[in-house]
């Protein structure tokens, strides 16, 4: 069987365009059967795969500036596919797929030790402390293309991988070898009213996300494009989500203001 060149699905998010509205959060929840409870104000346990952070330059009125940063799972590659979370899972519930670059999460294997949550530096992983309950009738809008989780397992953003599966299925049926760029897009990318999120194959030079981020694969995936950064770059997690901001304070905050590190 002919092997396709490995994909590396990633995202480019333009923080200049992002207005912090939260559509990406709601689209993700609606697409991925994310549970909801009466009181969701404790954000440490509130389950939201995509989360928009409010960033501040911490200056006093009237010089205060605010920016917004949507943060999905970063699908870290680490070194040769050893993402922080994948490296620690005792149940092989999470795995890195070299063909797509996606870090998968299989709920039926996970037994909820939460070691992965400790390992992840981005807080993308959420634990189901409570049994998800759907009020009568609301279970009708659950998406059959993705598992419904139960209490006691960890969940996280999957880059809407079920959409890739369905797109491949369609391509297989039509006899197509390759997927078009717009055949596989995540729910958040699709919903963003400001079109601030771009998703695609970082390994494919024709895809917008590659052109906008210009990842340097010989240098741990660091972005070559101007004003583009990744979160916590100095940790070496080699994440796949690239951010653009014209504001320097935002870019510096993206690496926790760690300056003078690793310019290579």
């Amino acid at each position: 069987m002919k092997l396709e060149k490995a994909h590396k699905f990633g995202m480019f998010i333009d923080l200049d365009k992002c207005t912090g509205c939260g559509s990406c959060m709601v689209a993700c929840m609606a697409e991925n059967n994310v549970p909801f409870r009466e009181d969701e104000t404790d954000k440490l346990i509130s389950v939201a795969w995509m989360r928009v952070y409010n960033l501040s330059n911490n200056k006093p009125f009237p010089d205060t500036e605010t920016s917004f940063l949507p943060r999905p799972c970063q699908h870290c590659e680490g070194h040769h596919g050893h993402s922080p979370c994948v490296s620690v899972c005792p149940a092989t519930a999470t795995d890195y797929d070299a063909n797509t670059g996606i870090v998968s999460q299989i709920y039926t294997r996970c037994f909820g030790c939460r070691y992965c949550m400790a390992a992840c530096p981005y807080h993308v992983r959420l634990f189901n402390w409570y049994d998800p309950v759907w009020p009568e009738g609301m279970e009708k809008s659950l998406n059959p293309n993705i598992s419904v989780r139960m209490r006691g397992v960890v969940e996280k953003c999957s880059f809407c991988f079920h959409r890739y599966q369905l797109a491949k299925e369609r391509a297989d049926y039509e006899g197509e070898e390759h997927l078009a760029e717009d055949a596989y897009q995540t729910a958040c990318t699709q919903a963003c009213p400001a079109k601030a999120i771009v998703f695609g194959d970082l390994n494919n030079p024709d895809h917008k996300v590659h052109q906008l981020a210009q990842p340097d694969n010989r240098n741990g995936g660091k972005p070559r494009a101007k004003n583009v950064f990744r979160l916590l770059e100095h940790l070496g997690t080699n994440p796949k989500v690239y951010y653009h901001s014209s504001k320097e304070w935002v870019r510096r905050l993206g690496d926790n203001d760690v300056t003078g590190r690793d310019k290579a």
């Binding site: 609606a30 009708k140 659950l142 419904v148």
Partner: protein, 737 residues
């Protein structure tokens, strides 16, 4: 043979050995592990045939197109419709959560009647029978004018059917829920002589001056404006946001100008003054296409110089001058107003000042400017025949006195309804219909509305959701929601082209509901005579199809019908004023009350702070309340457990001895609420802010009981010129709890 201990043990060991060599333990482990993941209360959604139905979202006035993914007959996901002129694939938080409104617990499942304070289900026949009997009775007594109707909009077949019903029945009391379009429509009428709504070509503007409009917080057609903003990012377009608090719009703006709340109009006039004084205006337009400029500029130069304006607004004179020069010097400048989501009409003269700025730079009816968008005229029903009762009834004055001698220009003054009802012993309104609105929650002075509604003997709500107003109603006649029926929706929320959306039934109606149109036609028929004769259609579906005529096909195929795109040259502006020109001022305008900033209610000594409400994309303050997904994403700097957090400048907080997170009591002349303190550098000292959209007492357990309703803390303040609701905030004090 005796079974002694050793034998028994060896039996067990033999058993263990045999068991280990049999598949039992291995299979059992495998099965039990599967069993532990099959808890019966975890739903398993069934796979099925996937289909997509395109429709339109009606949850806010913005008018986005939607693409709904179904699995068999279940709605699984709502997405934005790619290619729709307003949203092109994007969708806001509310639209995306629409499936939760379809299947959620706040749906009204059948007609209900309020019996002794409780809502009980009744049949349609009973409900319509009782309502019809009361309507007949009022007509017989010669009092048809005591029937009123509040609707979310006045455009489209459903509101027009309601209006037609009232007219032929004999009542002039049709109300539209207030918004900035009230004042913009009047401004366009007075200054341009046209009856139209204001449309803003954000897509093509390159310098947008926003007087508190929440362009990225839900103003107008939100998704469309977000996309325009992204274009500004790509093409160095500039956004300047003028408001006392750093909303998301101000955070994204190139420049945030903090201003004393309520003084935006003064700033607008002062900017105009600079433009006039330094001759930065578009001379072609002003000289050849305007009138009244001389007397108008006189007023500006005498009263709104930058020094005086600086004292009132708190904006530096040099900043004012620079703003004016930048605005006038841009290629396609555009000024807009309407605080937050634009749900309040505000001061007419303030709106006219902002509109005048656009005129000064020649931005009327050209690309990147403001346009007078005509109302689509496809609803062309013959005038109904009126009988004597109806004719007499239509002569009566409206309870809000709109169109009367005191308020000659206003069409709808819903803000004046509570006083009219509460102040007289016998309520002037005997029957009130409410469609697509939740005034007992979403309008300022909400408590007065609740009192009035309790006083009106028969309130009939068409609400599909158990909101605050519906809970107070005597009858609820639930209509299907937008995903369950065909309905035409003309969009007027500041979009620069006339556009009509068509919703279509994505699923069959889930519950025992009837569309508003059908109910109106049935009620009319039950009254007989000229009233019935005015509604010749079999049912609403027939009415809709016939009314739309050949537009029905286009609407069914594409989901929308839009007017012509504004060309690059624009059309020559047509003005239908007496002078056939744009009128900066005229006799009619001069006769109205002079402009003055709207003052907040309350004595400054007792209430040293100023409270302003604010709007966001995550809290919806209209007819629709947040579904569970949307209330879930409200940050913990806004809502903590069930307490709303009030934004206050750290300097002000320290003066008051308040710390971050501390519980406090917020008191205004109208009410009091328990809050928690949130120190925020993005708000002016002396100003505090609460979000609109919390403090529900109805809908569902996911929404009710959280925070405080800012509308209950703010009273009503009329615009001196028009009578429109012009309140923007109120004086307040904040004490430790």
């Amino acid at each position: 043979m005796k079974i002694d201990r050793r034998s028994f043990l060896s039996f067990l060991i033999g058993g263990a050995a045999g068991t280990a060599l049999s598949p039992l333990p291995w299979k059992l482990t495998d099965d039990i592990s599967i069993w532990t993941q099959m808890w019966p209360w975890v739903p398993i959604p069934e796979k099925g045939e996937v289909s997509t139905v395109n429709s339109a979202c009606t949850l806010c006035p913005g008018g986005c197109g939607i693409s709904v993914r179904k699995v068999d007959d279940r709605v699984v996901k709502i997405e934005g419709l790619a290619g729709h002129p307003i949203n092109n694939g994007g969708l806001c938080t509310l639209g995306l959560a629409g499936a939760q409104l379809l299947y959620g617990p706040q749906r009204v499942k059948a007609p209900m009647k309020n019996v002794g304070g409780r809502l009980v289900e009744i049949s349609w026949e009973e409900a319509l029978g009782e309502i019809s009997a009361r309507l007949k009775e009022l007509r017989e007594r010669g009092q048809p004018h005591r029937v009123a109707c509040i609707a979310g909009t006045d455009r489209g077949t459903v509101p027009e059917l309601l209006n037609r019903f009232l007219t032929v029945y004999g009542s002039p009391q049709f109300f539209r829920v207030p918004s900035i379009q009230d004042t913009y429509e009047l401004a366009l009428y007075l200054m341009q002589g046209v009856r139209a709504s204001a449309g803003f070509d954000f897509e093509n503007a390159d310098y947008v001056l926003s007087f508190g409009s929440g362009l990225l917080d839900g103003w107008g057609t939100p998704v469309n404006i977000f996309q325009a903003h992204s274009r500004w990012c790509e093409r160095s377009g500039k956004l300047v946001q003028i408001e006392p608090r750093q909303s998301r719009t101000a955070a994204k703006a190139d420049s945030w100008i903090p201003i004393n709340p309520g003084t935006e109009g003064v700033l607008a006039l002062s900017l105009a003054g600079v433009i006039v004084k330094e001759s930065l205006y578009n001379a072609d337009f002003v000289n050849a296409q305007s009138s009244g400029f001389d007397s108008w500029q006189q007023v500006l130069l005498e009263n709104y110089d930058t020094e005086s304006a600086a004292k009132i607004t708190g904006v530096d004179p040099s900043t004012i001058a620079k703003l004016a020069r930048d605005f006038a010097g841009a290629r396609k400048p555009l000024a807009v107003c309407g605080r937050g989501k634009g749900q309040s009409p505000g001061s007419l003269k303030e709106v006219m000042a902002v509109h005048a700025l656009n005129a000064l730079v020649g931005g009327i009816d050209r690309q990147g400017g403001v346009r007078a968008v005509p109302e689509p005229d496809y609803i062309d029903w013959p005038e109904p025949e009126m009988d004597a009762v109806a004719a007499a009834g239509m002569q009566q004055e409206r309870v809000d006195q709109a169109g009367g001698s005191q308020y000659p220009h206003a069409r709808y003054l819903l803000n004046r309804l509570p006083e009219a009802v509460n102040s007289s012993a016998d309520s002037p309104l005997q029957v009130l219909f409410v469609s697509d609105a939740n005034p007992c929650y979403s309008l300022p002075n909400s408590k007065a509305f609740s009192d009035a509604f309790k006083k009106i003997p028969m309130v009939v709500s068409f609400s599909s959701y158990l909101g605050e107003t519906a809970e107070l109603a005597d009858f609820i006649l639930p209509s299907p929601i937008y995903l369950e029926q065909y309905e035409d929706r003309p969009i007027a929320a500041g979009y620069p082209l006339p556009i009509v959306n068509l919703t279509r039934p994505v699923v069959k109606p889930l519950f025992n509901t009837r569309s508003v149109g059908d109910v109106v036609i049935e009620l009319a028929r039950s009254l007989g005579g000229t009233v019935a004769a005015a509604f010749p259609w079999e049912d609403y579906q027939t009415c809709l199809k016939e009314t739309l005529g050949d537009k029905w096909i286009v609407l069914n195929e594409k989901g929308y019908w839009a007017g012509d795109k504004l060309g690059s040259g624009g059309q020559p502006a047509t003005f239908e004023t007496k002078s056939s020109r744009f009128e900066f001022t005229n006799a009619e305008i001069d006769a109205m009350a002079r402009f003055a900033p709207v003052e907040p209610e309350g004595d400054i000594a007792a209430f040293p702070l100023v409270l302003v409400p604010y709007d966001t994309m995550r809290l919806w303050n209209g007819y629709i309340g947040d579904p569970p997904f949307v209330i879930k994403i409200v940050p913990d700097t806004v809502l903590k457990n069930n307490d709303v957090l009030i934004e206050i400048n750290p300097a002000t907080a320290s003066e008051l001895g308040l710390q971050d997170g501390q519980a406090a009591n917020l008191t205004t002349p109208r009410g009091t609420a328990r809050v928690r303190v949130h120190l925020f550098e993005g708000i002016m000292p002396g100003v505090v802010a609460l979000p609109a959209g919390l403090g529900h007492t109805a809908h569902s357990k996911f929404l009710a009981g959280k925070g405080a309703n800012v509308n209950a803390l703010i009273g009503s303040v009329e615009d001196a010129a028009t009578g429109y609701e012009a309140v923007w905030g109120i004086r307040a004090k904040l004490d430790k709890a």
